[in-house]
Structure formats: structure tokens, C-alpha cells
Symmetry: C2
């Protein structure tokens, strides 16, 4: 959608003899998933570099704006898994891994890593905006599609989103939609999403508009107020009766700190 | 379990000609569900009176301790539904109803109300401690079983809980377990629950130990700190790798106020 280039490349094919390498920016945890369909889930995070979007309010802009370019490492699935175990303090200390970005859906070969996780008895969740399809989507245990509302400055490819949702539904995948809301136009967009995909669970999330706030307590009070406001607006809209309204728990607890 | 008597009675039979009447203490909403498996869900609440437990830290003790006895109304399913519509400001303004208590599972005839909700296209969620079975449990769309940990002063009837979980599993019901945690003994209890029911999603919730705090901002900071502490303790326990750790969002946002 945006002209923002990927900051790193992976091989388009995923041959068995030449393992894919993935641009990884962060591996951290165990922590809890702070938002969306498995909010509260104890999990590890793998954050990949590179995005096809450049949302105005992105809380992980370092994954695509070049500022963390020097930190990107090209890792094979085995390397990532090994580092997950090391970071967690042992293979037995986690059973769930969340793939986030950037947009991990840019990585054609990532199915190799998903398979590896499953072979070790770990579940895999994915967060992506729904701008690209990958066949390995159907292997994901909990997939969150978060199309971006007007305030992001991005434009939704509805035909692509239709196609992704159609394929996930046909495969019987566990997936949901999530819309981050900053203003009333974003809320109208959430209504549009709900009406276009009435059978998919929609999560509405209050956006963090204080990415530069360094005091976690100040941010907590502010974000709680924004959440309450969003709840009251959703309550006023019968078209959002089936929606779930959630905070970003990690921002409420740990503020704008990275790696938690 | 406790000697606490029910504060009101309903007919044990649910004859078609004589509709059951249910002891109702509160009908409110729309708001959002603040905890558990459908946290964030836009919903109406129906709070029934009477409980077979008397938890030391119960945040709805007025449902069983006699202090709100004068507010209990004996209502038929039709009456409750009508009041839900009035309270919401119209039948189109909600699509989800949460039944809480007290312990709504004491009410043998409540299936009448569940059927009425479904006939009007509304979903029904239930919160109960898992001390009693009712056949209408299998009609519930999202059922939360919250057995009480040691700090409550209650004693779990494991055979009953086994039986309930067996029946819900056999029926293919959507249900989960939730344990409220106040101290390390409670967390050990959560581990016990997870190990006894490894295939059921477990939610662990930080208990509210400041039920008398009148300042919502003070409570928010306090509860957020308790949540963070609970997360760090769950992270240290591999036996809780699959658990989800959640706050009570309604207490974080609205403090100890009733009816929100």
C-alpha cells in the first residue's frame, strides 16, 4: 500500500535443502500478549523487520523506518527457535509464540518456522494487516488480521482482505479482525469492517496516542481514559453490538518500553 | 459448600404452564465484560441473588449477605427480557447478555430465559463457580467456571467440577476455567486446576483486594501493579505456560462502582 520498502529480503522459495532466513529484530519473553483475540496469553514474541505499510501512529516503526536497521539479523528457523529457548531460560518455559512485525506476512518461507514450532509442541499466533496472503496462514493457531483505519494514512485493499478471509474461513482457521481506533472516522471504519465480515469476531482497540510518554503511570491513566471513552462510543452503536473492545495491556503495564 | 443460605427461592420444576420466577438483583448495561473468556465483549448484565458460597473477598457480597435483600425482585423470563430492552434503550442495542450472581446455577428453571434470549437472536454467557450442574448449561454460548481458591475460604467439590467439565466437553460447549488469585496458595491452586483439566483454557485473574477504595485512579494504579506482579509469577511457572492472565477491566476503569 505505502511505498515503504522492505528492509530485508528472504528467498521466495522454501526449498528443503536451503533453509530460508528471516529478518528478525526482536526475540523476547516470556511475557503476556497485551491485545487481541488471545489477550493475556503467556507467550514469547518474535518481531520481524520490514513492512509494506507505514502507519502514522505505528508503535513499532523501528521495524521499517530504518532506525533499527543495524539490529536486523537474518536467522534460519532453527536459529530463532534456539534463541527463543535461550531467552526464555529453557525450552519448557514457553508453549506459545507470537509472530509480529512489521508484517511477518511478507516472508514467504515462514511456514518452515511454524512447522518447527508445532513439531516442538508450541502454538503459533500471527499478527498481520491483511495486505498479503501466505499459504502458511492456515497453519497458524490464532491469526489476527488488523486492517488499518483512516488515521493510519494507509488504504485498505478490500479485495485482498476478502480473499484472505475467504481462504481462512474455508480452512476452518481460528482468526479474528482487529481495528485500532484513534478517532470517529476510525470507528466508522470499524463499523464498515464489521458489516463486511459479519461472521468474523471483531476486536476494537483504543490506540496509543502518547508514544513519547515516558512515565508509565501517566500513560496508564491516560490510556484507561481513552479506553473508557471508546467503550462509551461503541455502546452507542448497535452496529457494533457483537464487537469486543480491548486495551493494549502491555502499554498499560509497561508503558512505551520495548521488549516486554 | 458454605452454610450461607440462598436469599431467594425459585420453583424446582419449570413447567410450561407456570413460568419460573427468578430472584434478580441487578439488570444493567450495555457495558463491556471486564474479565474472562470474552473480556471486552459488549454485553448486558443480569445479576441473580443467592449463592451457595460466601467467599471472603466476594466483590458482589450483596447478592448473598442480606444487605440488598430488599432489592431482590422475583421476575419471569419475559419480565427480565423486557427490562433488558428498556435498560438498553431498545432491543436493537444489545446482542449479548451475561448472567452472573451470586450463583445463577442455583436456578433450575433458568433455561427458560436462555431459550428466550436465543429466540431473540441474543447470545448468553454465564459465570458460575462450578458447584452445581444444570442441564441448561449446554445451551450457554460462553460458560465460565470459576472454582474458588483457598483465600476464598471455600472448599472445592472436585468430583462435581469433574462431572460438569465432563458433561460440557461431551456436549461440545464453549467453556473455560477462571481462577482468581490473591496469594501464592491461590496460584498453587491454579496450577492444580490446570493439571487436573489440561485441555480446558485456564484464565488467571488478579483479585481486587481494595474493595473499599473509592478513588478509581488510585485503584487503577494499585490493580495494574498487582496484575504485573501476577504476570511475573505466572511467567516463572512452566506449569502455567498455556494460561491466560487477565485483569478485571471494569474495576480498572470504573473502580468499585456497582452497575457498570
Amino acid at each position: 500500500m505505502s511505498g515503504q520498502p522492505q528492509t530485508a529480503m528472504t528467498p521466495a522459495n522454501s526449498s528443503r535443502t536451503v533453509p530460508s532466513r528471516f529478518p528478525v529484530l526482536e526475540i523476547f519473553g516470556p511475557t503476556v500478549q497485551g491485545e487481541g483475540m488471545v489477550i493475556g496469553q503467556k507467550t514469547m514474541f518474535v518481531r520481524t523487520a520490514g513492512c509494506d505499510y507505514a502507519c502514522s501512529w505505528c508503535d513499532s516503526a523501528f521495524t521499517w523506518d530504518g532506525t533499527a536497521k543495524a539490529d536486523i539479523r537474518l536467522l534460519e528457523a532453527d536459529d530463532i527457535y534456539e534463541e527463543l529457548c535461550e531467552t526464555a531460560g529453557g525450552e519448557d518455559r514457553f508453549s506459545h509464540v507470537t509472530l509480529s512485525g512489521g508484517n511477518p506476512a511478507l516472508l514467504a518461507g515462514l511456514g518452515e518456522f511454524i512447522s518447527l514450532l508445532h513439531s516442538r509442541g508450541k502454538r503459533a499466533a500471527l499478527e498481520t494487516q491483511g495486505s498479503r496472503w501466505q499459504d502458511w496462514f492456515t497453519e497458524i493457531d490464532e491469526l489476527t488480521l488488523s486492517p488499518k483505519p483512516p488515521s493510519s494514512g494507509m488504504k485498505t485493499d478490500w479485495e485482498m482482505l476478502d480473499s484472505i478471509i475467504h481462504q481462512l474461513s474455508a480452512a476452518g482457521s481460528a482468526f479474528s479482525l482487529k481495528v485500532v481506533v484513534f478517532d470517529v472516522c476510525d470507528l466508522d471504519y470499524a463499523v464498515q469492517v464489521q458489516q463486511r465480515y459479519p461472521d468474523v469476531q471483531l476486536f476494537i482497540q483504543a490506540g496509543n496516542d502518547r508514544l513519547d510518554e515516558a512515565d508509565a503511570s501517566v500513560l496508564l491513566i491516560h490510556l484507561a481514559g481513552r479506553y473508557e471513552q471508546l467503550v462509551s462510543e461503541v455502546i452507542e452503536r448497535p452496529s457494533l453490538n457483537r464487537a469486543r473492545v480491548l486495551p493494549q495491556l502491555h502499554a498499560w503495564i509497561w508503558g512505551n518500553k520495548r521488549g516486554v
